[in-house]
Symmetry: C2
Subunit: 280 residues, 2 copies
């Protein structure tokens, strides 16, 4: 029994028809789901360390986990609960806000390239280059020609990354508008969550159908074999966290990495240390 991120099939996507509240592949309740995530920790952590070790020894392999979803869909919660299971040394989290003036002066992929994970690292994007085909489409900031140029640029870019050793996992955190409303109201109800509340999010919420359509088109154009899109039903936070944990774990297992072999003579080094002139 494992939670499964759903690999979206290529072709047209109808997000409204995909349930947001399923706990696909996992028959347990919240309590078991939370425990199942914690139980992934040790293996996830060890395999991530192997990836890191190989990165230090010259392997180009790395992971890029892209988190996209409407406000409150749980990008932050995924970072805390799932990504937080592994050694922070091996993780690089980058959050993308609205582009700065400097960033806007460059191509949209410029700031993305500067934020890519190094060898052996699990890079996580909290929002990403996909914002540049979502917000501009919804708000009509660029024309269709430019949007199509961007989808193509994203596909070229992602292909280049995978050829360079990056495994890309693109996750769409799928919530319903009702669930978002509940979460926004919950933020208002707790002073400890007021800092997360932004009235602008409610303006964007009114464009829900436009965002959904923008997501559908973005997924249709960029759901490639080298950089696939996964859908995570995210009304249940614990299920979302578990499913992303499973996806990471499956990816790491697929690398089938042993520890890197010693690139020195182990016995000779032992002899050097045990036979040394006293130090201090």
């Amino acid at each position: 029994m494992t939670a499964h991120a759903q690999r979206l099939p290529s072709g047209s996507v109808d997000l409204a028809s995909i349930p947001t509240d399923r706990t696909r592949g996992f028959s347990g309740a919240k309590k078991e789901g939370k425990q199942a995530l914690v139980d992934l920790g040790p293996e996830l952590s060890e395999l991530q360390e192997r990836l890191y070790a190989h990165g230090r020894k010259g392997s180009a392999r790395r992971i890029l986990l892209v988190l996209q979803g409407m406000d409150t869909s749980g990008k932050g919660g995924t970072l805390r609960h799932t990504v937080g299971l592994v050694d922070p040394q091996g993780v690089r989290i980058m959050s993308f806000k609205a582009p700065t003036e400097e960033e806007r002066a460059h191509d949209f992929l410029w700031r993305i390239r500067r934020a890519l994970p190094g060898p052996g690292i699990v890079g996580v994007f909290d929002r990403s280059h996909y914002e540049d085909v979502l917000v501009p489409r919804v708000h009509g900031l660029v024309d269709e020609t430019e949007l199509e140029r961007r989808y193509a640029a994203i596909n070229d870019f992602e292909r280049e990354l995978t050829e360079g050793g990056t495994t890309i996992l693109k996750c769409l955190l799928h919530i319903s508008p009702d669930e978002q409303k509940k979460r926004l109201l919950a933020r208002l109800a707790q002073p400890s969550k007021h800092w997360k509340y932004n009235p602008h999010d409610v303006d964007e919420r009114a464009r829900w159908a436009d965002y959904r359509r923008a997501y559908e088109i973005a997924v249709e154009r960029t759901n490639t074999d080298v950089a696939p899109w996964y859908l995570l039903p995210s009304d249940s936070k614990w299920y979302r966290n578990l499913a992303i944990g499973e996806l990471l774990l499956e990816t790491l297992r697929g690398f089938d990495l042993d520890w890197p072999a010693a690139d020195f003579d182990v016995d000779a080094e032992r002899a050097r240390l045990t036979g040394e002139t006293p130090v201090a």
Copy 2:
């Protein structure tokens, strides 16, 4: 009963006279020490989130935790076990290796400035600008005048950072040469740790006394009120982790931060959400 990082007094420092194996302030054994660290987690995590929240709301406050120590002194273990207690979103870890050619073409603080934490972030340096007054002194790569220029530059730099809202905690992870030998041999004994073993570390180990003296001088020159040095007896890994956790916690407590107040009208926002035209 809490573990205490020792604030090094200003003036001359004699590291050889300071025990590496004490568990100062904490009378429990390893098991209790490990549990005590885990028990810090919830408060540490909440206070870190408050710091982060204020960073998002315009506060310039942030923390820079500098970890320095001989090889195997446990910079990585501290990152995993202590820094790993808080939300990875609020942490930025930077590891400094030997400078690259590009880095060497700039002043030694150039790469450091690019790695500083943003507002609300707990930045952690695994090695730091202090490497540039340790290695060069031990290996005679620069002359005394240049070393003195660097100490002064560090003090100016650190003062500038604190004036900009950064609280700097400089930690010297203090181990004995015997403990290092044990740890190096342990790395050799386990294939899963071979990747961490570097024969060069044994060459550097032979210069232990030179490094100790280089540390003493560095601490003497840069142990300022605004950017103090703390000494962590680090032969016990659990004690080191706990003491750094306590230091972080005390620092965060000292900020006395409540959650940021809402910068919007809570009731009006609730009314907007509950009275909205159906979305989707």
